[in-house]
Amino acid sequence: MRLVLVCFLFAVNLVVAQEQNVKGFVNFGEETVPYASLKFMNASKVYTAYSDKEGQFALQIPYGEYELQVNALGYQPKDRIITISSTNASNLLILLVEDLLGLEEVVVSATRNRVNKKEAPIIVNTLGEKLITATQALAVSESLNFSPGVRVENNCQNCGFTQVRLNGLDGSYSQILVNSRAVFSALNSVYGLEQIPTQIIDRVEIVRSGGSALFGSNAIAGTVNIITKDPVLNTWEVGSYLGLIDGDTPDRVLNFNASLVSDDLRSGATFYGFHRNRDEWDANDDGFTEIVELKNTTFGTKLYYKPTDRSRVTMDATVLNEYRRGGDRLDLPPHLTDITEELTHNTIMGGVSYDFNNAKNTNYYSIYSSVQYTDRDSYYGGLGGGRTAQDSLTALNAYGITTDLAVASGFQFTKQFKRDVLTSGVEYNISSTDDNIIGYNRRVDQDVNALGVYAQYEWKPSKAFSALIGSRVDHINVDGIYTVGDISRDVDISQTTLNPRLTLSYQLTEDIKFRGGYARGFRAPQAFNEDLHISSVGGEPQFVILSNDLEAEFSNAFTGSFNYTKTFGRTQTNFLVEGFYTSLEDPFTLVSTGVQLPNGSIVEEVRNGEGATVYGANFEFGVSPSKKWLFQLGGTLQRTAYDEAQILFEADGSNPNESDILISEFTRNPNVYGYLNTNWTPNDTYSVSITGTYTGQMIVPRVISDSGFLSLNESDAFFDLNLNAQAHFDVSKDFKLTLNAGVKNMFNSFQDDFEVGPTRDSDYVYGPALPRTFFLGIKIGKMH
């Protein structure tokens, strides 16, 4: 790799000791070479000059003989003896020969090859640390609203269970991943989103619609992928948060994390801990909670070791202990109260993955396995306003025990061709849940084994066009026994399905990209998420049970989008419009069958409902004129429609005033919702953010009689606006301080018609999760 430098110099000997104006060009053929360095040396002095952007240089130098050294990137430096005289002084031409093989010793960067968001074939929305700070989110569930098409709803005022809706489809249609692994089990998804502390999160990646074969068969609405931090520096951080819900109910958090990484970056570990203690809050002074008491302690670690340059072992482990209780008289034992939902979770999660690649960086292999085990004590019940011996007995019967095991193991192989990428893999998931309330004779004993094999080819025939063509074959086996009182159902099903996925993208112009996709998905009959939750209605527990002959549900999802991204100087702009259309065949639907059990409890059945379509558009608009300002606005306009009216309540005919309740669209699903996110960072010390969400009107079912009879209410629209001010001080290089203060939901846009008393319908909650809440936060440590 020797470079050849040729200097053609027009030299005539003439020596003048006075400094003269000397000008010239450094050229490569006809082209000029900018920023070349020239050094003219004689016995007494060194004169330096650089060619400018146009390849021109000028200096003041006496005529005479010099040793000239020329340096320019891509050209080997070389010495020449030259003579400057009046004949060549104004036209010194230095001609270089370029090296066609590139530069010597340019080492390929070790940083991983991240795919540019703009070029990705699938739209990925990222929620980063900045947004999490701006919203002062304590758990993942609180920050997810700030992405188009995503809405987190609170489903129960006795236990505070939340779920994520993507494009209006409920939680069971999306997949929640932690570091791209499906470790969330059916039980986990009930409270899990509230249990992951935000301090360990690097970012959350949201993909709407299941256009990639890598995602599970049920991930038809999309995936929420929680990526945890990877340590580089030795850091530590201790933080504390105090929130005052409605100005008086404290919510306290203490957390810490520390990272140790070896100097050669071959091994490292992060340790974290989180403790939250939130008091219960009662919105309407009826003695029953609207926000539940919560105590959560989490400890965890994530560590890695790189045995060689091309391999890496990652391990993580988390222990989580959570206590939550809602209802009334929280100081009494649960069975002496009117309503109590009390849950103690002991969860341990852990995982190992081994990643390696070949020397040419074309083949990547990953083997992984993660396990989650939860042991839960539950109490869902109470006296329900009555004081008879039967009420006391029912109340005593409400204690339950749950065990839940989830294992996800897999192998993934990625091959990088010149431009195309092949990804294939196998994944095996086991989920075993045993939820037992002996007193009620209620049991969910379910084993789900799922084997998925997938392959996906990213084909890029030209720079503008790319296609993701993939398919997955899923074999799922569900073996479950579901009992409530004298009703017993069982499912024993084995099913194999083929789920093709396709995404096309085309770069229309330099700034506009079109993407379109199709995905087919399916869900096998099984108890999931809210089916494991017991709500309280009319002073009695309300159970969910799978109906007889429940069949698999299929769905087809189409998306199309235009994304405009342009940077004008310092101003970045981004505009996205995305249309989606999803049709569901035989969707699992909850139908209230009224009082069915001898003790007066209401039973809801999961049935194959009427076919339905969900369609609409997401939009996102972002402008950032400089690093100091950021504006983002996003939202969703959508419609849901059942092909034929869907039954929600089945009357038994005993009460002439009660008839079947039918509905033509989804409940608890607004047609308009969105968010805004603005940030102003005038300098390194201060920053102010205003964030907010809008939730449009929606239909919320409300149980209005002991029989479970419903009324369909239209809710108000809500606009939840948050303000956060932050100050950051570098006390020293290794000690920094960050202070936060602000208010969440500053206009107190909050539900105002909560049900009251022991016979209330605990599921009748909607809208923002918190009333007006003031908060203060402090973080100290060696952060970066």
Binding site: T48, Y50, L73, P77, T111
Partner: protein, 156 residues
């Protein structure tokens, strides 16, 4: 006994204040003078405030006693923020940040000149090693672990 423990503890406390050897970082202005007075090899460490791996270099590599020793003995070490807005006088020429106020990541002319690449973006941390005559010898666009750095520095 107790007082002895206290004395020992205080002793350790003061020990931690014994000045440690540090890399003698130069600015480009100082480098020019130094080079004319006594030519030595030069190492340039390019960093940015947002670059985590650059910080790791500063914390884990440029703090190692054996590296500091070689650097201070055989090299002139220059540390430069690629987003600096200062005008730098070097070799009779003024280098400025032409991108400041125009681009998001506004690189100064100096890193463009010393570490710029034809068809790829400049990646940080960038380390440039130049010989006694200020000719580029080696360039690295990644984190260099301490052991490897020592080997690189000791190469003639």
């Amino acid at each position: 006994m107790r007082s002895l423990v206290i004395i020992v503890l205080i002793g350790f406390f003061f020990l931690s204040f014994i000045p440690k050897e540090k890399v003698n970082w130069l600015s480009f202005g100082e480098l020019e003078t130094a080079l004319t007075e006594k030519p030595k090899k030069v190492i340039v460490h390019f960093y940015a405030d947002w670059c985590v791996y650059c910080k790791k270099m500063e914390e884990a590599v440029y703090t190692k006693p054996d590296i500091i020793e070689v650097l201070n003995a055989d090299y002139y070490a220059v540390s430069f923020n690629v987003e600096s807005k200062d005008s730098i006088q070097f070799g009779g020429q003024t280098f400025v940040n032409l991108n400041a106020g125009k681009k998001r990541t506004a690189f100064h002319q100096i890193p463009e000149f010393l570490a710029g690449r034809k068809d790829r973006d400049l990646e940080l941390p960038a380390t440039v090693i130049l010989d006694k005559d200020f000719n580029i010898e080696k360039r690295f666009y990644r984190y260099i672990p301490p052991k490897e750095m020592l080997t690189i520095l000791k190469q003639p």
